[in-house]
Amino acid sequence: MKIKNKNIDFLSNSKKYWLISLCIIVVGILCNVIFGAELDIKFTGGAMFKYSYCDDAELIAATNVSATDITDEDTQIDYSAAQVALSTALGRDVTCDINTRLNVDAEDIDNKMLVISFSGNEAVDESADTVIRESLAEQYPALTFTLRGSNSVDPVMGREFFLKCMVAVILAGAFMILYVALRFKKIGGWTAGVSGIVAIVHDCLIVYFTFVVCGFPIDDNFIAVVLAVIGYSLNSTIVIFDRIRENRKLFGPKASITEITNRSMNETLGRTINTNLCVFLAVATVAVISIIFSLDSIITFAIPMMFGTVSGCYSSLFISNSIWVAWQEKINAKKLAAAKGGKK
């Protein structure tokens, strides 16, 4: 009979693993400095209007009898001219972006999306829609613009919302340390709790850097991803702690912490990898499909979630436990020294 015996040494190289994470974090910080993080208008306040239109002269001519003589020249929007004209009409600076629009309906010929963002953080009245439309109609009489979405956020409310989100994340972290500390009292609750927190801070940073590197604005999706990732990451860490606690009972207090931890991690390795793999597969499916169909609100959720899941798996294998072991050994060494000192 053959028994597969996994015995990976997770702990003796723990400094190397910390270094890998540290390098990624340093690169992330550099990216943050270079690219900068962009806060969504939900947090800063501001306004944005989106219009769809069709820039294909043939298609317009085919659907509109009164516009049969238009040419491609009439349908091309000149960014800077449009920007200047709109800024004058609205009395406030705006920037224009044109994106390709996914065509979903056969009857709908609009293939472009004009995104008008207001500079500054002040909210904009919904009546701006009328002004924008009038100005656009004047500049591009051949085109028909359809309002596809708009939002405006008061800067004070945005800032309060941002603070509330931050408090939520801190609150979640605090509740989790408290839970780990109480539940794992037998294996040095607070050291376990704090080690778990180091791991989830690590995961939060990875999620944050994913947003920065991908150029996604930090919005409420960010908060949702951060909370979900820390939940799942700590979940993996806890399953390992749970095994350590069980093995401690089995092997008695004299067994070395390093050995027991390593043994517990190997025993739970299948679970740690498989559960995270299943979550990863689910998230990756969503990510791939949302990229294929360019579903922006889901892309900015699924891609960071993918990296967060990998990071959560990594941190529960290589960060939280090794920190906890190093810490516990220091405590034990001190105790031992104190005991020896007492004997003299």
Binding site: V104, M157, T268
Partner: protein, 476 residues
Amino acid sequence: MKRVGKPWFFVVAVIIIVLSYLTFFGVYGSYGDMETTIIRGVKDIRWGTDIQGGVTVTFGPLDEYDASETELNAASTILETRLINDNVTDYELYVDSDSDRIIVSFPWKDNQQQDVAATIDELSATAVLLFVEGAPSDIAYVDPDYTYVMDSSGTSYPIGIQGKHIESAAVQTIQDTGERVIELNFTDEGADLFAEVTSGCIGNYLSIWMDNVMISCPVVNEAILNGEAMISNSQQAGGFTAEEAYDLTNKINGGALPFTLETKDYDIVDPELGDDSLKIMMIAGIIAFVIICIFMIVYYRLPGVVACIALLGQAAGSLAAVSGFFGGLSSFTLTLPGIAGIILSVGMGVDANIITNERIKEEVLKGKTLDGAIDSGNENSFSSIFDGNITVIIVSIILMGVFGPPDSFWSKMLTPFLFMFPTATTGAIYSFGYTLLVGVIFNFVMGVTASRLMLKSLSNFKIFRKRWLYGGVDEK
């Protein structure tokens, strides 16, 4: 652990399959021409504005006027009345009295998104409350000086008083009879005017109109000279019902509001894009489900098959928790992040099975008997599953408390921590928290209880007693 009989596998599996069928397709009865929903299917789920398109607007008093709770309630009643008049019934409305905000979100009716500005303006416009002498059948024209109104046949009726003449309205119960009435208090100018009006039309109707819709049509019984009037409902024993009385009171107070509502925030989503994203997310969910099932069966063999059945039950359970399942129960709004939450839970949903199956595999490889391995696998894995899932429960509760409507249970629970922050109802994320929480609960029901019953029962069959099926090696 107790022995589990052979039929249990089939009982549990059939229950899960029937439950799944019902939650996906629903059950509808018909009584004559009336179609009734007995069990809600996927198509009855209420989709958030990010899927079906719609508007989310936050209103607040103009110039940071500090509104009282009664005033806000009155304002929200006005908004509700207008939404219903516009045939919008599936709106959501939350009042946050701490920060004086009213958040309204409602889906589009067929392609009306072109007049967004008009829709929002119409909603937040100051309510026009008029007391008209007589009872016109409708109001087609209101004189700009508010001296008379005209119905569609051209007959004119004088306006008695307007909203600005009313100080407040309140529900009162007459002590002797227990009859519920509405008490009106007038401003000084209003009291004089009302005395004059009521003296002139004793025995006649004095109809009350808000935004040109009649909300009440009382008869003047006597001249009211002291500026304190009472509206009673003599048609009904006991007067108004509590609901009628508060509704009418809020409407009258709404017409007498001393502030104007201003749009603070709004978010408008195009319906077409939303509709499409729903289909895409459904496809993503199905693909993710299939991939995970293949993985589980290949890796864990027999317990993997059990996990797949449990996972189907979990996905169906999550959807049932969103749709409300039974026609009468309340349902939840499902948004795109909410669907993402269900898909994530599908990924996480096999966690309980993975922990248990790993444990069983370990015990089988150690050389334990099959029954012994399954029993100790089940026993030893529970604390891991429980402790691990607590973190996800903490996360989902915080998501629901922070992003949920102010009157929801979790928001109230978190008030001690978040009291200094205003409500920020983000339905999309709230729905994510809800589906995560429901996912964890069904993870226990399906991944722990149902899976164990099924596996124990299957292990009684002779053909399923090969160690290979549980990840072990067959003894030759």
